[in-house]
C-alpha cells in the first residue's frame, strides 16, 4: 500500500448541506453489479416518492426507486459514468420528500424480514462497488467477523467522514441490524487516523454500551491507500487473506461501508429506500468544496444551475468518484448514482500526455497491495502476450491505481492492465 497525498482537509471540515429539490432526475436502471433492473413504469406515468421504478430482475440485481414524486418524461438512454449510456428513467419532479414515520416493533423483526426490507429498499454497497447488499448479507457460510468500513482512503473524498461524524447513531443502529442478520462474534469499526472527529464520536458511542452489539472494537488504522478495499481491510485488521477468486465470507468476514449501514438503518426504521446519499464535491475549480446530501439521479449540471456549486475557474478534468479509481467524464450531464462518493473538478490534469520508458525501478511492485508484478504484466500486454498473463496473475489486479500513481516514468499501468483483461483468454 502507499501513501497518497490526501487533500481532504477543506472537505473534512464542511458540514453536510442538503439539496432536496432537483427539477429533473436521471435514473439509470443499472446502478449496481449484476443485471439491470426491470422497468416497471411507462412514459407519462405519475409516480409517488419512494415508488419502485424498476424491479430486481435476477438474483444479482437491485430495485430503483423514485426519490421524489413526479412524471416519467422519458425512458431512454441516459448518461452513465461507467457505462457511458444506460437505459434509464427521466423523472420530472413535482412532489416533495414525504414525511418519514418510524416503523413499529423493529426488535421483533425476524432476520428474513430484515433482509427483505433491505432487498426491497434497493440498497447496494455504497463504497463504490455497488454489490446488492441483501446478497452480501446472506452468505452461504457463517461469518464470525464483521468489519465496518470507515476508511475512506481515496484522496479528496469526505462523505463517509461527514456521515460518521453527523450520523454516528444511524451507522451504529445499522450495524446493530446487520449483526442481527449475520450474528458475528466480533465487530471491528475501522477508521483511518486522519479522521479524528469520527474516531472520537465512535469511541464515545461505543463506550456508552447502548447498542446491542457483540464484542465491538474501534480499530484505528494508519492512513494508507487502498486500505478501504475489502481484501486489504480484512488483511490489515484480521491478517486473513481472502483467497484469489474467493469472497470475504470464505475467510469468515463481512465488510460493510458506513454509508450502506446508514441506508440500512433508514430502510428498516423509516421504510425509506436508497434514494439519496452524501457526495463530496471538491477540487481546485470550485469556489468552495461541499459535502451534499443529494437525491440519486440529480445531474451534476443542475447543482451548478441552481448555484449550489460555483466554479472559480474552468475545469480541465472532471472526475466521477475518487481520483484514484474514479472515471473522468466529458461533460456535466452525468447523474449522481447510488455508488457516487464524489465529483471532483480540477483545473489541471495531472496525467501526463506522454509516457516514458520503464526503468525497472520496482516501485510498482513495492506499491501493489495485491502483491502483484505490475511492470511484468504491462510488458506482456505491450508485447501482446495475452496468453501469458495468467502466469503473472493479471486477474487478481483490483485496479486501485497505486502502481500508476508511483510510476516515475508516468506509464499508465492500470490502463494497460484493463487492456490485458479485455484481451486475455478467459480460462474456463
Amino acid at each position: 500500500m502507499i501513501h497518497v497525498k490526501e487533500h481532504k482537509e477543506p472537505q473534512h471540515g464542511r458540514r453536510c448541506e442538503k439539496f432536496v429539490t432537483p427539477k429533473k432526475l436521471y435514473l439509470p436502471l443499472s446502478q449496481h453489479i449484476g443485471k439491470p433492473a426491470e422497468l416497471k413504469v411507462k412514459l407519462k406515468d405519475q409516480v409517488n416518492a419512494f415508488d419502485a421504478l424498476a424491479e430486481y430482475s435476477a438474483l444479482v440485481s437491485s430495485r430503483i426507486h423514485a426519490p421524489l414524486g413526479g412524471v416519467v418524461t422519458a425512458i431512454d438512454n441516459c448518461p452513465h459514468p461507467v457505462l457511458l449510456r444506460s437505459l434509464g428513467v427521466t423523472l420530472q419532479c413535482t412532489g416533495d420528500s414525504p414525511q418519514l414515520t418510524q416503523r413499529e416493533h423493529i426488535e421483533n423483526l425476524h432476520k428474513d424480514e430484515l433482509l427483505g426490507i433491505i432487498k426491497d429498499a434497493g440498497i447496494v454497497g455504497m463504497g463504490g462497488a455497488c454489490f446488492p447488499t441483501y446478497l452480501k448479507l446472506s452468505p452461504p457460510q457463517p461469518v464470525d467477523t464483521f468489519l465496518v468500513n470507515g476508511c475512506e482512503c481515496e484522496p479528496y473524498l469526505a462523505c463517509d467522514y461527514r456521515l460518521m461524524e453527523e450520523e454516528t447513531e444511524s451507522i451504529l443502529r445499522g450495524a446493530e441490524l446487520v449483526a442481527r442478520i449475520i450474528d458475528p462474534k466480533q465487530i471491528y469499526f475501522c477508521i483511518e487516523e486522519n479522521k479524528p472527529a469520527a474516531i472520537k464520536k465512535f469511541n464515545l458511542a461505543l463506550s456508552m454500551k447502548k447498542y446491542r452489539l457483540p464484542e465491538s472494537r474501534l480499530v484505528i488504522l494508519k492512513s494508507q491507500y487502498p486500505q478501504g478495499g475489502e481484501r486489504q481491510l480484512i488483511h490489515q485488521v484480521t491478517r486473513r487473506a481472502v483467497p484469489c477468486g474467493k469472497l470475504p465470507f470464505d475467510v469468515g468476514c463481512l465488510v460493510q461501508n458506513v454509508a450502506t449501514l446508514c441506508a440500512i438503518y433508514e430502510a428498516v426504521y423509516f421504510s425509506k429506500p436508497l434514494v439519496e446519499r452524501i457526495v463530496t464535491f471538491a477540487g481546485d475549480c470550485l469556489r468552495e468544496p461541499k459535502n451534499l446530501w443529494v437525491k440519486i439521479g440529480t445531474s451534476i449540471k443542475e447543482l451548478f444551475d441552481e448555484k449550489i456549486l460555483e466554479f472559480d475557474r474552468e475545469p480541465e478534468k472532471v472526475i466521477h468518484g475518487g481520483p484514484m479509481m474514479g472515471i473522468s467524464i466529458e461533460n456535466l450531464d452525468y447523474p449522481i448514482l447510488k455508488g457516487t462518493s464524489g465529483v471532483l473538478f480540477f483545473s489541471k490534469d495531472e496525467v501526463a500526455p506522454l509516457e516514458g520508458v520503464c526503468i525497472r525501478c520496482g516501485r510498482c511492485v513495492d506499491a501493489c497491495p495485491m502483491n502483484l508484478f505490475p511492470s511484468e504484466i504491462i510488458r506482456r500486454v505491450k508485447h501482446k502476450q495475452f496468453d501469458r498473463l495468467d502466469e503473472v496473475f493479471l486477474s487478481d489486479c483490483i485496479e486501485c491505481g497505486c502502481c500508476t500513481y508511483v510510476c516515475p516514468a508516468k506509464i499508465p499501468l492500470v490502463h494497460y492492465i484493463k487492456e490485458g483483461k479485455r484481451y486475455a483468454p478467459k480460462n474456463k
Binding site: P323, G326, S328, G362, V365, L372, V406
Partner: protein, 310 residues
C-alpha cells in the same frame, strides 16, 4: 469547455525519472567533494571529461536514431559521474573519454537506451578500459601528498604484501584508489540520503553489506591475514558498488526476493575474487556478473498475490 478524458488514476506522485536521477547525483555529491578534496584538479577534469563524453554520445545516438533527445532525464550525466568516480585519478584524458563513449554506446544505447540495458553502463565503461588499458587502470596515487606518489590500493596491499591499511584511513578516504571510492564516510552519507528519500531500495545494499560482513568474519576468524570485516566493507569499491551500482534500477531485480538473491550473489562473488582471484578487487566484475542473471532472477521470483493458494 472541452474536458479531458483518461484512464484512472487521475493523480500522480511528483517523482519522475529525471528527478530520480537527479537525486542519485545529489547523493553522490559528498563523494565528489571528497574526490575533489583529495585529488584536486585532476578530479574536476576527470568528472567533467566523463560527463561530457557520456552526454555527447547519448545526444548523438538519439539524433542518429531519430529519437527525441533523452539527455534531459539526466541518466547520461549520472553514468558519466559514476564512471569518473570509479576510475583512477591519473587516467589519461583520452582513455576516460573513450570509457564514457563506450559506457553509453555499448553499455546502454545499443540495447535500446534507458531501461533496456542488461549491464550497468558505468561498469561496462570501466570494464572496457580495464581490458584496453590494464596498466592505466592499475596505476594508483596516494591522495595525501600534493605531489602524486605512486602507491598500491589497500586491497592490493593486503593481497600482495599482507599489509592491512588502518580503518581510520579507509573510513575517511586518505588511501589510494579510484576517484570516488576511497571515502567510506562520504559514500555512506550519500547512501543515507538515498534511503531517506526512498530513491533506492535498502534491500540490496543492506543485504550486500551484511553478506560481506558475515563472509569476512568467517574468514577473519580462520586467519586474520584475510582482513577484518570492516576492512573489507570500507576498502575498494564495495560501498560505491553496493550503494550506487547495485541499486541501479535498470540492471537489478524488480522483485523483493530477487533483490535479496542479487545482493547475496554480488557479495559472495566479490569475496571470492578478493580472496581467491587474481585481482585484488572484484566489485565491478561481481556486479556485472550478477547483472546477467537479473532476467532469470526476475522470472523465478514472481511474487505470489495476496491470498494465493496453490
Amino acid at each position: 469547455m472541452p474536458l479531458r478524458i483518461s484512464s484512472s488514476p487521475h493523480v500522480r506522485a511528483s517523482a519522475h525519472t529525471g528527478w530520480v536521477m537527479q537525486q542519485v547525483i545529489i547523493a553522490l555529491l559528498p563523494a565528489v567533494a571528497a574526490a575533489v578534496y583529495f585529488f584536486r584538479l585532476s578530479a574536476v577534469w576527470l568528472i567533467f571529461n566523463c560527463i561530457i563524453s557520456c552526454v555527447m554520445t547519448e545526444e548523438i545516438v538519439c539524433r542518429l536514431r531519430h529519437k527525441p533527445s533523452t539527455i534531459r532525464d539526466a541518466s547520461a550525466v549520472l553514468t558519466g559521474l559514476l564512471l569518473a568516480l570509479i576510475l583512477p585519478p591519473t587516467i589519461p584524458w583520452y582513455a576516460a573519454t573513450l570509457g564514457g563513449i563506450f559506457a553509453v554506446l555499448f553499455g546502454k544505447q545499443i540495447f535500446g537506451g534507458l531501461g533496456q540495458n542488461i549491464f550497468n553502463p558505468a561498469l561496462i565503461g570501466r570494464a572496457f578500459l580495464m581490458a584496453a588499458y590494464p596498466a592505466m587502470l592499475t596505476h594508483w596515487v596516494n591522495p595525501a601528498g600534493v605531489d602524486a606518489v605512486t602507491s598500491a590500493t589497500p586491497l592490493a596491499l593486503r593481497k600482495f604484501d599482507q599489509i592491512i591499511t588502518p580503518l581510520g584511513d579507509l573510513f575517511l578516504g586518505t588511501t589510494s584508489g579510484s576517484l570516488g571510492e576511497t571515502s567510506a564516510l562520504c559514500l555512506l552519507i550519500g547512501g543515507v540520503y538515498l534511503f531517506a528519500r526512498t530513491i533506492a531500495d535498502w534491500r540490496i545494499p543492506f543485504t550486500l553489506m551484511v553478506t560481506v560482513l558475515v563472509t569476512s568474519t568467517i574468514f577473519y576468524v580462520i586467519d586474520p591475514v584475510y582482513g577484518s570485516p570492516l576492512f573489507h566493507l570500507f576498502s575498494g569499491g564495495l560501498l560505491i558498488g553496493a550503494l550506487f551500482m547495485a541499486t541501479d534500477p535498470v540492471t537489478t531485480p524488480v522483485t523483493k526476493l530477487g533483490r535479496y538473491i542479487f545482493a547475496i550473489g554480488c557479495a559472495l562473488m566479490i569475496m571470492v575474487i578478493r580472496y581467491f582471484g587474481g585481482l585484488p578487487e572484484g566489485v565491478m566484475y561481481a556486479i556485472l556478473f550478477m547483472n546477467a542473471f537479473v532476467p532469470l532472477i526476475n522470472r523465478y521470483t514472481v511474487p505470489k498475490p495476496l491470498g494465493y493458494e496453490r
